[in-house]
């Protein structure tokens, strides 16, 4: 009961004036009844009681006030707590929404696709060039199957993945895909119906392709003959059957955006850079992968392992004995063979067989970039010979086989019967200076001067020119020793010839 009413009541009781006091309180009603029914002594007793009661009531009220204050505070606290909680839930909800949206990409449109891109012959031809560089056919074709019809099992960190049918078949291929669907798959690795594709499909490289190239490729694929071929179900390993987890893979390893241009380099270099990084996806094989099949960022082009074959390093860590030239690379990439390096084999053979269909200027651009790439990256730098060294050695081999092999070839009868030691054991051949071997070739060892037949050697001073002698010497050095090549052989031969023939 409120204090002011209490005070009024008290005053009224003490003065016997009960009027004008609200009698809503039940206690008061009971007490007045008692007053009316009892005598004055009772009144005094009751008054005492009343005072006590009043005091109690006043004390109560105070605590009520405290309570009210507390409640006020509590209510305020509660209100704050609610706000914070609300905020918290808002944040959680927001992140959930983001996560959900991000984990569960929406299914693509179901509208008719092909009209969205005009299938003109020029665009299709351009797309064929893109497909050649991207080498779609090698993964999207199974042995004995039709081109682009998919079904090739590929072992990966995610399990055994089967390549999709990318012919425009409506039921089993991409016949219903719009350009938008296709672009999303190429850039984000998301299928038309929204499910995520395993990164074994190198969308982390294709994401850098230009819109034009993707549209051209789409036109090319849509112009193919549809093939009905259902793709076998992937066989993922735990936990990758939950494709949504691939969203996290993308977060870590999918770096979207176009290939940057370097204004200090030529147009051809930049074109080659784009082709290699985007559609070519060469890094995908020629870079070591981590346990999630993502390229190790700091080890680009350091080499990798594919189907048991080594994809060699394409940067300065390359072990090619002779540096690749643009012509050699162009020949290798487009004909699967390089006269100074050898034949492409294993998984690379599939690549070069497809690159045979790429535009020549594209292959040359890629070669331009690759020649530059050979010089990049530190550590383990192997000193390479160049084309001229190789040509010299090849000429030397030809000369040796005609002029020297009859006595000096390990298989020759003169070597086996004559007691002549192999050139591998010759000090002159292994020496730091080519002086003695040059002298020997020029003058031979005259028959008159020696006692035993194997000692004789015909002179070649008038038979071979300085350059030819240098060729032979260079060849002998590589053929019979592991020692480093003698430098400046032309000068050395001229010098020795002059010294031995002062006239």
């Amino acid at each position: 009961m409120r204090a002011d009413i209490h005070m009024k009541m008290t005053h009224s009781v003490l003065t016997g004036n009960l009027h004008g006091v609200s009698t809503t309180c039940r206690d008061w009603c009971v007490w007045t009844d008692a007053l009316c029914n009892n005598g004055s002594r009772q009144i005094a007793l009751d008054l005492k009681l009343f005072r006590a009661e009043l005091q109690r009531m006043v004390a109560n009220n105070a605590s009520v006030q405290h309570q009210e204050h507390d409640i006020e505070v509590t209510r305020r606290n509660e209100f704050m707590k609610t706000k914070v909680t609300l905020l918290f839930f808002l944040v959680v909800a927001a992140s959930l929404i983001c996560t959900v949206r991000f984990w569960l990409p929406r299914a693509g449109s179901t509208s008719a696709p092909v009209q969205s891109v005009p299938l003109n012959p020029e665009l299709i031809a351009c797309g064929a060039g893109v497909a050649a560089v991207g080498d779609c056919v090698s993964c999207h074709t199974t042995a004995g199957g039709q081109a682009f019809a998919g079904g090739l099992p590929i072992k990966s960190a995610f399990g055994t993945i089967f390549s999709a049918n990318i012919t425009p078949d409506v039921g089993t291929g991409i016949g219903l895909w719009s350009l938008k669907n296709f672009t999303r798959a190429m850039r984000e690795g998301v299928s038309r119906d929204g499910h995520r594709l395993y990164p074994t499909f190198p969308y982390s490289n294709y994401t850098h392709m230009t819109d034009t190239d993707i549209a051209a490729l789409y036109a090319f694929l849509m112009s193919r003959t549809p093939v009905r071929a259902a793709t076998p179900l992937d066989q993922p390993v735990w936990p990758f059957q939950y494709r949504r987890l691939l969203g996290f893979w993308n977060l870590l390893f999918l770096h979207r955006g176009p290939v940057g241009k370097d204004p200090t380099q030529s147009i051809e270099w930049n074109r080659g850079h784009y082709l290699i990084e985007a559609a070519g996806h060469c890094e995908g094989c020629h870079t070591p992968l981590n346990f999630l099949d993502a390229e190790k960022a700091s080890e680009a082009f350091n080499g990798g392992i594919v189907d048991g074959w080594e994809a060699p390093a394409l940067n300065a860590r390359s072990r090619a004995p002779v540096r690749w030239s643009k012509e050699q690379l162009t020949a290798y990439l487009s004909t699967s063979f390089a006269s100074e390096h050898g034949a492409s084999a294993g998984s690379m053979l599939l690549v070069t067989q497809t690159l045979a269909y790429a535009r020549r200027e594209d292959v040359e651009a890629m070669s331009t970039y690759l020649v530059w790439l050979e010089t990049q990256g530190g550590g383990n730098h192997v000193s390479h010979g160049d084309s001229s060294t190789l040509a010299r050695i090849r000429r030397g081999e030809s000369l040796f086989s005609a002029s020297c092999a009859s006595c000096h070839d390990p298989e020759s009868p003169m070597n086996q019967l004559g007691g002549r030691p192999l050139l591998t054991l010759s000090t002159a051949v292994n020496a730091d200076s080519p002086r003695n071997i040059i002298n020997l070739i020029l003058a031979g060892i005259s028959q008159a001067a020696v006692a035993s037949p194997p000692h004789y050697m015909p002179p070649f001073a008038s038979t071979l020119t300085d350059s030819q002698i240098a060729d032979v010497v260079a060849y002998v050095r590589t053929r019979f020793t592991q020692k480093p090549a003698w430098p400046k052989l032309d000068d050395a031969v001229a010098k020795v010839r002059k010294e031995s023939n002062p006239t």
């Binding site: 081999e397 000369l399 005609a402 002029s403 015909p458 070649f460 008038s462 038979t463």
Partner: protein, 167 residues
């Protein structure tokens, strides 16, 4: 494609550059004067003149000949009109089986172009790389002596030929 100048004629041959000149002369050009004796530069039966020097054609790949003119015994003269060295060898009957003779003639020719009046010692020294299994060495030396006389005689007397009827 290998281009050679053989006996003054340019010839183009589609053969491996490491083919020994001897094989090209005999197989592609049908110049069978030079013979295969050892293939090792030890008998001289294959001797031809390349540039200005006598060479073992069994040890010289066609790819290495370059622009140096090649001369074989067929280029020195014909059966009807033999050259001076050939005439000397015929006069001295220096051949038995004849297998070493083409080489001997070419080495002699090369020597006489550089040493027009050689001594016997010089003749022996210069002809040493060429071997004869039939033992006609004495007649060969005599033929070279005569060739030297004949050729220097021709030089001194200008156009008058000493070895035949006076012109």
């Amino acid at each position: 494609m290998i281009t050679l100048t053989v006996n003054g004629v340019h010839r183009t041959l589609d053969i491996d550059p490491s083919t020994p000149l001897l094989y090209a002369l005999r197989n592609q050009l049908q110049l069978n004067g030079a013979k295969f004796g050892c293939g090792l530069g030890q008998c001289g039966a294959c001797t031809v003149i390349v540039g200005t020097a006598p060479e073992f054609s069994c040890l010289l790949p066609v790819g290495a000949v370059g622009v140096r003119p090649v001369r074989t015994v067929e280029g020195l003269g014909t059966e009807a009109r033999p050259g001076p060295v050939q005439r000397a060898f015929i006069a001295q009957q220096a051949a038995q089986c004849g297998y070493c003779i083409a080489g001997m003639i070419m080495r002699a020719q090369a020597m006489l172009e550089v040493i027009p009046a050689p001594s016997d010692e010089q003749i022996r020294e210069q002809m040493a790389p060429n071997l004869c299994r039939c033992g006609t060495h004495m007649r060969i030396i005599a033929a070279v002596r005569q060739a030297a006389r004949d050729m220097s005689g021709q030089q001194t007397l200008g156009t008058v030929s000493v070895s035949g009827a006076r012109a």
